[in-house]
C-alpha cells in the first residue's frame, strides 16, 4: 500500500460508532442528579469531591446509609468476580470508603457540627441512588464519583469518556525517560491521539512543561474533548496542551513531519470480545473507545501509518496494545510494511507482566 495523505487523514469509522450514543442513553442513570443528563451539547460535569458542600445530614442518617451500603457490598461476595472478573466485596468496601471521602466534608473526623450534622456534597437520596447504581447496575465507581486518580492527578471522568487505566500510566514514564536524554524532543510538539479524559496529554504535558514542549491532543468524541479541556484547565496546562476535535491525524494536517513525539492508547479490543467484557466496561464505557475492529488492530495500524508520515526524524512514539499478540503483529507490520521508517522498536510489559506497549523512533 502506498502511503497517501488521504489514506492517513481518512476518518476512521467504526460500524458501531452510530450506536454508541444510543447505547449510552440506554444505561443512563435514572436518578435525578447532576449525573443524570447525558451530555450531548457538551458541558463537563464537576466531580463529586469538587462540588460545594451545600447539603447536610444527621450523622446517624449517614451511618444508616453506610451500614446499608456495606450490607449491599457484602451481599455481592465474589459473584461478580466469578461471572466477569468484576469487583468482590472487599474491593467494593474500599470504594465505599472512598465514596465517603469524596462525598462527606472532613470525613476523617466526620466533621460533625455542634448540631450533630455533617456537611455533604450530595444529598442523602442521591447517595443511596449512587451506591445502588454501583452495585445493581455495575456503574463504574469512577463514574459514580466523577473522577479517577491517575498518576498524581485526579481526572474528571463521566459517561461517554473512557476511564483511564493504570497500565497507561507507564506511557508517561517512557516519555519522561526519552526526553530526559534528549533536549530536542523535550522542546518539541507532541501528539496524543484519542486523548479521552486527557490523561496522557496531561501526564506528558507536565513532563514537557519545563522544557517548553507542548502537546496536541485529539479525539473524535466531543464529550472526550470537553472533559479533557476541563482537566487540562484544572491543572493549568492550557498553554501547553491544545485540544482538537476530529479523527486521528485529520486535525493535525499542519504538523506533517514535525512531531517530536506521538503517543496513543487507541481502541484495541477485537469486536467479538466486546460482548463478553466486564459489566462495568461493556455496559458503561463508550464502545468507540474500546472496539478496535475485527482483530482490534484497525486503529493501531492506521496510527502506525500516520506516525511514519507525521513524526520528524528521530521522533519517538509509544502505543498501548491489547497484549503480546498485538505487540508482535504491530512490530511485524512496522518491520515489513513500513521498513525503513522506524528504528529501535521495543515491546514493553505492564506491571502485570503483559506485553502491552510498542515503542520506538522514526528513522
Amino acid at each position: 500500500m502506498k502511503l497517501t495523505l488521504t489514506s492517513v487523514y481518512r476518518p476512521h469509522c467504526f460500524p458501531t460508532l452510530l450506536n454508541s450514543s444510543s447505547f449510552i442513553s440506554l444505561c443512563r442513570p435514572f436518578c435525578t442528579s447532576a449525573l443524570s443528563s447525558v451530555p450531548t451539547g457538551v458541558k463537563p460535569q464537576v466531580p463529586l469531591f469538587l462540588r460545594p458542600p451545600i447539603y447536610s445530614t444527621k450523622l446517624c442518617d449517614l451511618k444508616k446509609w453506610h451500614d446499608w451500603a456495606k450490607g449491599l457490598a457484602f451481599s455481592v461476595g465474589s459473584t461478580f468476580l466469578h461471572s466477569d472478573n468484576g469487583p468482590d466485596s472487599s474491593l467494593l468496601c474500599r470504594e465505599l470508603k472512598w465514596l465517603m471521602e469524596d462525598a462527606v466534608v472532613g470525613h476523617h473526623s466526620l466533621g460533625v457540627k455542634d448540631d450533630g450534622r455533617v456537611e455533604m456534597r450530595v444529598d442523602m437520596e442521591e447517595l443511596y441512588c449512587l451506591w445502588r447504581q454501583r452495585i445493581l447496575e455495575r456503574r463504574p465507581f469512577q463514574y459514580v464519583v466523577g473522577c479517577e486518580h491517575w498518576r498524581d492527578f485526579v481526572l474528571s471522568v463521566q459517561e461517554g469518556v473512557l476511564i483511564p487505566r493504570p497500565e497507561t500510566e507507564l506511557v508517561v514514564d517512557f516519555v519522561s525517560g526519552v526526553v530526559s536524554e534528549n533536549e530536542d524532543l523535550k522542546k518539541g510538539a507532541w501528539a496524543d491521539l484519542g486523548t479521552g479524559s486527557g490523561a496522557l496529554a496531561i501526564g506528558i504535558g507536565g513532563v514537557l512543561a519545563s522544557g517548553g514542549g507542548r502537546v496536541i491532543a485529539t479525539d473524535l468524541s466531543p464529550v472526550a474533548v470537553a472533559v479533557a479541556a476541563y482537566n487540562v484547565q484544572r491543572y493549568c496546562l492550557q498553554d501547553n496542551i491544545e485540544l482538537r476535535e476530529g479523527s486521528w491525524f485529520e486535525p493535525l494536517k499542519d504538523m506533517e513531519g514535525r512531531l517530536a513525539g506521538l503517543v496513543s492508547n487507541p481502541p484495541y479490543i477485537p469486536s467479538k470480545d466486546i460482548s463478553g467484557l466486564q459489566a462495568e466496561v461493556g455496559r458503561h464505557e463508550p464502545r468507540v473507545s474500546l472496539d478496535g475492529g475485527i482483530d482490534g488492530m484497525d486503529a493501531l495500524l492506521h496510527l502506525c501509518d500516520g506516525a511514519a508520515l507525521m513524526l520528524k526524524p528521530g521522533g519517538f512514539f509509544a502505543f498501548e496494545t491489547n497484549g503480546k499478540q498485538q505487540c508482535r503483529a504491530l512490530v511485524d507490520y512496522m518491520e515489513n510494511n513500513r521498513s525503513g521508517s522506524f528504528c529501535n522498536l521495543e515491546i514493553r510489559a505492564d506491571f502485570a507482566g503483559i506485553q502491552r506497549f510498542v515503542i520506538g523512533f522514526h528513522q
Binding site: 469487583p87 474500599r94 486518580h149 473512557l162 500510566e169 484495541y268 466496561v281
Partner: protein
C-alpha cells in the same frame, strides 16, 4: 513552668555560692558585671548593673538580694561550697521520701538519682567518647569537602553536645540549690528555706520528666516508622490474632496523637490478616514502637474452633524507622527492581475496570519486597511502596554498618518464632505479661485497645538502665 523558674533560681544559687566564696573579702575583679535580683520581696525593683562598682547594699546576707558573676568559671567536677558532688549525694544514700514530704535531703537524693539514671540512659561514657571524636572532626579544616557528611557530623555533634550540656546544667543546678538551702538554714531564714525547698521539689519533678526523655535518645528514636505484623502458623486463628495486634497498634498510635496510614493489608480468607503494614507519623514514633519488636503470643478459646478448645497463636511484629531527609539513604538502582501489579488477573488494559492498583516492588539483589495498596492510583501506590522499600534497605544498612542493638533492626523475616516478647492470656485467667521485663497487667482488653505505654516504658528503661554506663 520549670523553664521559666530555672533561670532566676540558677542565678540565685550561683550568686550565693559566689557570695560565700568571695565572702567578706570584697575582692572582686573590676571587670565583672553584676546582677541584682530580688525574688521574695516583690516591692523591690530589680536593678541591673553592668558597672564596675559593687553597690554596698547587696552584701547584707539577710537581705534577699544576690549578686551574680556573669562569666561562669569553667567547671571541673561541680561541687557545693563544702565540696559535695552529685556522686557524693548518691553515696550518702539519703532516704527518698514521698514528694509531699518537705525534706531537702530526700529531694536532693531524688534529683541525684534521676541525673544518674539519665546519664546511664544516654550511655554517658560512650557519649563522651563519641563527642570527643566528633569534636575533633568538626574542627578539621577539610570538614566541608564532603558537605553531606559534614552536615551529618555537625548535626550529631550539636545534638550530643546539647545533651551533655543539659545534664551538666542539671548537676550544677542541684548543687547550687543544696548550697542555698544550707545557707538558709545557717542564717535561720525560714522564708528562704521554704522557697528553696519548693524549687528543689520543682527540680525533682523536672528531672523525672527528663528521665523519660532520656529513654528516647537513640539516633533514630525521633523518626516516624512503619509497623508490620504477620501471623505465625495456625491459619485463621493466628491471622485473627495478627489483626488484633495490628488494631492494638493503630489505637495506640492514635492515642498518642500520631497519624496512622494503612500501607498494605492482606486479608485472610476467613478472618484476620496474612500481613499488614501501617505507617506511623510523628515525633518519637520509632523510639516507642521499637519496644514492640518480636513475637506476641495469645492464649484463648478460639472463636474459630467449634469444639471450643484453647489455642495458642503467635504474631510477629517488626518496626522500621523512616530516616529523615538529613540522613544518608541507600542508593537504589532502577535496574535492580522488579515491579509487579498485585492480584491482577485477566487481560487488563481496556478490558478491565478496577479500583485496585496495588503494586509490589522487589529489590532483586536483596530479595526485599514492599507492597502498597491504599492509594487510589497505581503511580502513588508505587511511590509509597518505594518509600517502604527505601526504609527497609536503609534499615538493613544501619544493621550492617553500626551493628546497632540487634533487636531493634530485625525485619520480619529475621524474627524467629522463639523470640517471644509478650504473652496475652484470655483463658483460663486474664493477664498480659511482658516476658522481657515481667511487667504485667491484669486487664487484656485495655492493652488490646492500645494502652501499651506501661509496657513500652518499662521495656525501654529496663534495656537502657541495666548496663552500668554512667
Amino acid at each position: 513552668m520549670s523553664r521559666i523558674l530555672r533561670k532566676p533560681l540558677r542565678t540565685k544559687g550561683l550568686s550565693l555560692f559566689l557570695h560565700k566564696l568571695v565572702g567578706e573579702s570584697h575582692h572582686i575583679p573590676a571587670s565583672s558585671s553584676w546582677f541584682c535580683l530580688s525574688h521574695s520581696l516583690p516591692h523591690n525593683p530589680i536593678p541591673y548593673f553592668t558597672s564596675n562598682s559593687v553597690p554596698d547594699a547587696i552584701h547584707s546576707s539577710a537581705s534577699l538580694q544576690f549578686r551574680f558573676w556573669a562569666s561562669e568559671a569553667a567547671a571541673t567536677e561541680p561541687s557545693t561550697s563544702d565540696g559535695l558532688t552529685v556522686q557524693g549525694i548518691l553515696a550518702h544514700n539519703w532516704t527518698i521520701l514521698d514528694e509531699s514530704d518537705s525534706d531537702w535531703k530526700s529531694h536532693a537524693a531524688a534529683v541525684a538519682r534521676s541525673i544518674d539514671l539519665i546519664k546511664r540512659r544516654l550511655q554517658w561514657s560512650k557519649l563522651k567518647v563519641r563527642l570527643d571524636m566528633l569534636s575533633a572532626q568538626v574542627n578539621r579544616e577539610d570538614l566541608w569537602d564532603d558537605p553531606v557528611r559534614a552536615g551529618q557530623i555537625s548535626r550529631e555533634h550539636g545534638s550530643l553536645l546539647g545533651k551533655m550540656k543539659e545534664v551538666n546544667a542539671l548537676e550544677q543546678e542541684l548543687l547550687e540549690h543544696v548550697d542555698m538551702i544550707k545557707l538558709a538554714r545557717e542564717e535561720n531564714d525560714a522564708d528562704l528555706e521554704s522557697e528553696s525547698l519548693k524549687t528543689l521539689l520543682n527540680m525533682r519533678r523536672n528531672a523525672k520528666e527528663k528521665e523519660l526523655e532520656a529513654l528516647l535518645s537513640g539516633e533514630h528514636d525521633s523518626c516516624s516508622c512503619y509497623i508490620e505484623v504477620q501471623p505465625g502458623a495456625g491459619g485463621t486463628e493466628s491471622m485473627d490474632w495478627a489483626a488484633m495486634v495490628m488494631q492494638m497498634y493503630k489505637s495506640w498510635a492514635q492515642r498518642r496523637g500520631y497519624k496512622v496510614t494503612v500501607i498494605e493489608e492482606m486479608p485472610g480468607e476467613i478472618a484476620g490478616i496474612k500481613r499488614a503494614t501501617i505507617k506511623v507519623d510523628g515525633e518519637f514514633a520509632f523510639g516507642y514502637a521499637k519496644a514492640e519488636i518480636g513475637v506476641h503470643r495469645l492464649v484463648r478459646i478460639s472463636p474459630f474452633d467449634s469444639s471450643k478448645r484453647r489455642h495458642t497463636s503467635f504474631a510477629a511484629v517488626a518496626v522500621i524507622p523512616i530516616l529523615g531527609d538529613g540522613s544518608t539513604h541507600v542508593q537504589i538502582n532502577e535496574s535492580d527492581l522488579r515491579i509487579e501489579r498485585f492480584r491482577s488477573s485477566g487481560s487488563g488494559g481496556q478490558h478491565a475496570n478496577t479500583t485496585d492498583s496495588a503494586v509490589r516492588i522487589i529489590h532483586i539483589p536483596t530479595g526485599i519486597t514492599a507492597t502498597c495498596q491504599n492509594e487510589r492510583s497505581q503511580h502513588l501506590n508505587k511511590a509509597s511502596a518505594m518509600a517502604v522499600l527505601q526504609s527497609r534497605l536503609d534499615q538493613l544498612e544501619i544493621a550492617r554498618q553500626a551493628q546497632l542493638n540487634a533487636q531493634h533492626t530485625q525485619s520480619l523475616t529475621d524474627i524467629t518464632w522463639g523470640n517471644q516478647i509478650r504473652s496475652y492470656v484470655l483463658h483460663p485467667y486474664r493477664m498480659v505479661k511482658d516476658l522481657r521485663t515481667n511487667y504485667e497487667v491484669s486487664d487484656p482488653d485495655s492493652v488490646l485497645e492500645g494502652d501499651l505505654d506501661g509496657f513500652i516504658l518499662s521495656y525501654l528503661s529496663a534495656t537502657l538502665d541495666k548496663d552500668d554506663d554512667a
